[in-house]
């Protein structure tokens, strides 16, 4: 360098020296300024100017770095970039080549939140064992949020669809800016003082990290920690977070998800009851089928056939029995007839009439007594002689 003053340099040589000096001397910088003249190129690089009250510097962020930035810079955004100086020899200009970019103050906020998080973690505020269970079937869900926000509408819609019998109580709160934290904390305390509900959703829709800050404030953390009512924290979008997420009994990625979580029990029961309903019907159908198959054996046609077969068997027996009776009776009569004939014949043999027919007569006295000796027939008495064909009176002479 000593002989730089003695040397005659070409523009390129000078530029090269400047480039070396600037690029090797100014690297690993962290620069804060306001975005101005932001010009994203069609190829994905960002060209802009960083300025403050009195100075400005050209800046570039190449495509390989811009994708890591989670916001698109707007005119006037205060940002902090890291990078180094870059000399563009063809135009003799220098610019700040940026590797990272974040909104100014973001780092401090993150660091503050991280510190606060560690503090409360050390106090045991985030311990799993202190978490209260979310009631399976809450009767009234309290919602601490902005009464005009989209988050509330999302929550109401989802609850109406999934648990139409679940009451909702809105505890309106300011959810960003001045006074938001105390507004949120007050509502949590109010719900607890008056036991207004049996589960609380505390949250809001998405926003910048600053917008979500009230949910990381001490007063809100303390209120959630002290809450007897189980609290579901539902702050921002899925990628967002707040310290309320850690201290709450349950973290929901979004307000909609919180509504789904508190109504899950109702939905489960609805599904379970619907299933049981179907099972009941199937069971009774099976039971009835079984009964029907048992009864079918006794249907009228089969019964008729069985009874007919019984009757015809009996009828056959009856017909047979009738026949036998007639035969028996005839035989009985026949035997009586034989005996009668015999008796008649015997009778006839003994009949006095048969003797009379042979010329004998029967003699009775007037008293009707049989006269079987001459002593009984006094002379002069009147006797009756009975012949085979009638009788005559006779007078005894001697």
């Amino acid at each position: 360098m000593d002989n730089l003053f003695m040397t005659e340099l070409s523009v390129s040589e000078l530029t090269s020296l400047i480039k070396q000096t600037l690029e090797q001397g100014f690297y690993g910088l962290k620069v804060t300024g306001e975005i101005s003249n932001f010009r994203p190129s069609s190829t994905g690089h960002w060209f802009f100017t960083l300025k403050d009250a009195s100075c400005s510097i050209s800046a570039v962020m190449f495509k390989g770095s811009t994708w890591k930035v989670d916001f698109t810079p707007q005119e006037g955004d205060k940002v902090t970039v890291t990078g180094g100086l870059d000399v563009y020899g063809a135009r003799g200009t220098y610019q700040l080549k940026c590797d990272t970019m974040e909104k100014s103050g973001f780092g401090q906020i993150l660091a503050m939140l991280e510190m606060r998080k560690r503090h409360y973690a050390s106090l045991g505020y985030f311990d799993e064992k202190t978490k209260k269970a979310i009631p399976k079937l809450p009767l009234r869900v309290g919602v601490v949020t902005s009464p005009t926000g989209a988050a509330l509408q999302d929550i109401l819609n989802i609850l109406e669809r999934r648990a139409p019998s679940l009451d909702v109580l809105v505890l309106p709160a300011t959810v960003q800016g001045e006074g938001a934290a105390s507004s949120i904390a007050n509502r949590i305390q109010q719900a607890n003082n008056l036991l207004l509900c049996d589960v609380l959703i505390v949250g809001r829709g998405g926003g910048s990290i600053e917008d979500l800050l009230p949910f990381s404030e001490e007063s809100v953390i303390e209120a959630i920690h002290a809450s007897e009512i189980p609290v579901v924290s539902a702050v921002g979008h899925e990628i967002d977070w707040a310290l309320s997420d850690f201290v709450a009994d349950l973290r929901a990625p979004t307000p909609s998800a919180a509504a789904e979580l508190v109504s899950q029990g109702y939905l489960d029961y609805r599904n379970q009851v619907a299933n049981l309903h179907v099972q009941l019907q199937r069971s009774i159908e099976n039971r009835l089928l079984l009964a029907e198959s048992k009864v079918r054996r006794f249907d009228t046609k089969a019964m008729g056939m069985r009874i007919n077969s019984i009757i015809s068997a009996k009828e056959y027996l009856l017909a047979n029995a009738g026949n036998s009776l007639v035969i028996a009776q005839k035989q009985l009569l026949k035997s009586y007839a034989g005996r009668l004939e015999l008796a008649i014949r015997e009778l006839q043999a003994l009949s006095p009439l048969a003797i009379l027919a042979r010329g004998y007569a029967v003699v009775h006295n007037q008293e009707g007594k049989l006269v079987a000796s001459r002593m009984q027939a006094e002379p002069g008495s009147l006797l009756t002689l009975t012949f085979t064909d009638g009788s005559r009176k006779a007078l005894v002479k001697e």
Binding site: L137, P147, L156, L159, E160, A163, P164, S165, L166, D167, V168, L169, V170, L171, P172, N186, R187, Q189, Q190, N193, L194, L196, Y266, Y269, R270, Q272, V273, A274, L276, H277, Q279, L280, S283, I284, N286, R287, L288, A291
Partner: protein, 69 residues
């Protein structure tokens, strides 16, 4: 009476209905009881009878509550 006990009762009824030693008469009585419970539960769970209200005022010791418009 709670959802839990009602649901357990329906489950118990379903089991009895599936058991072979339950008489037909008993089965029908059980089925009717189960259906009555299931329908009542379905009605309770699906009926749109919720109230949506909002707290007025900021005093944490008292709350005036009014239906949300």
């Amino acid at each position: 009476m709670s959802f839990e006990t009602d649901i357990s009762r329906i489950e118990e009824i379903t089991q009895k209905l599936n058991a072979s030693d339950t008489s037909l008469e008993e089965s029908i009585a059980l089925f009717e009881e189960g259906m009555r419970l299931a329908k009542a539960l379905e009605k309770t769970l699906a009926e749109a009878k919720r109230s949506v209200e909002i707290v007025l005022g900021d005093d944490p010791r008292e709350a005036e509550i009014t239906p949300l418009q």
